[in-house]
């Protein structure tokens, strides 16, 4: 599986997760724009730069959630 195939799989996973979130949740960005979860889903579906970063953040979140605490 090449990098782009891995990304496409991650994207599917992230979209499945994003679709369980309240689409109207309001996310502030430090720049002028704000986004809703609905907007974020659109960015991820379109695969633009912001959407790809969202995929990376969500995958990172899943890694954090599955981390086993050090004994």
């Amino acid at each position: 599986m090449n990098k782009e195939d891995v990304y496409e799989e991650q994207k599917k996973l992230v979209l499945a997760r994003l679709n369980t979130i309240n689409p109207e949740s309001k996310i502030m960005l430090g720049t002028d724009k704000n986004v809703s979860v609905r907007d974020i889903i659109t960015h991820v579906e379109q695969g633009d730069d912001f959407g790809r970063k969202i995929v990376r953040a969500q995958i990172n979140m899943l890694k954090v959630l599955t981390e086993v605490p050090a004994e």
Binding site: I21, S25, M28, L29, G30, K53, L65
Partner: protein
């Protein structure tokens, strides 16, 4: 001997109301610490002239910048540039934490090249979640609470004398704890908790530091 702690707190739009709210606790802590000389540039005073004047009076200390930002600039009151390549030399010998979008990318590196001990910031946009019904009262916005907590944790670690690298790593641990708390909110699948987890994960990836990781305030 007192140590200089300078903070800029613009207050001209909704987003600045939130950042202003995030820094309230550290202001109180600094005021109560007799070993700290607090310089609080808030509202209209969060401008370039005041910043330069204050930093030119002392030769080291901690600087906490709140504001909009981009890769090359941190902005102050009314989104006027407060720190950029033309005045970056005023950061010499200082430790900076910029709660501003993206400024670590170029400005942070430039600050270190011009003598700043260290520059902590974000490599992309800083993201947080709000409850629109509470946006007029950020202090009461529970959605924003975890973001307040991590921002406060980082500046508190620095004020309390942690090394820059340690402060950043401990803050990242705090992020992870919060992500675990919000990211698995099975009892709140259609609330805002999953979005909070997403935004925390984003910020965790973006937070970093340039310069001397062993620098101490």
């Amino acid at each position: 001997m007192t140590k200089e702690f300078l903070i800029t707190r613009p207050l001209h739009d909704e987003k600045m109301f939130y950042l202003y709210s995030f820094s309230k606790a550290i202001i109180q802590i600094a005021k109560e610490n007799k070993k700290i000389l607090l310089i609080n540039l808030e509202g209209e005073r969060a401008n370039r002239k005041e910043l330069e004047s204050a930093l030119n009076k002392h030769d080291k200390g901690l600087v906490y910048l709140n504001g909009h930002g981009d890769e090359r600039t941190v902005f102050g009151h009314n989104d006027m540039p407060i720190l950029d390549k033309d005045n970056i030399k005023i950061t010499k010998n200082r430790i900076l934490y910029a709660l501003a979008c993206s400024s670590l990318v170029e400005l942070g590196q430039l600050a270190v090249e011009n003598g700043a001990q260290a520059y902590i910031g974000y490599r992309d946009e800083f993201m947080w979640v709000v409850d629109p019904s509470k946006s007029a009262a950020p202090d009461k916005d529970r959605n924003a609470a975890p973001f307040r907590k991590v921002c406060h944790a980082l500046i508190s670690f620095l004020v309390n004398g942690e090394q820059v690298g340690t402060a950043v790593e401990k803050t990242k641990m705090e992020y992870k704890k919060l992500i675990k708390s919000y990211g698995t909110s099975e009892d709140d699948p259609f609330g805002d908790a999953p979005a909070i987890g997403l935004a925390l994960s984003w910020d965790l990836l973006c937070l970093d530091a340039e310069g001397d990781k062993k620098a101490v305030f």
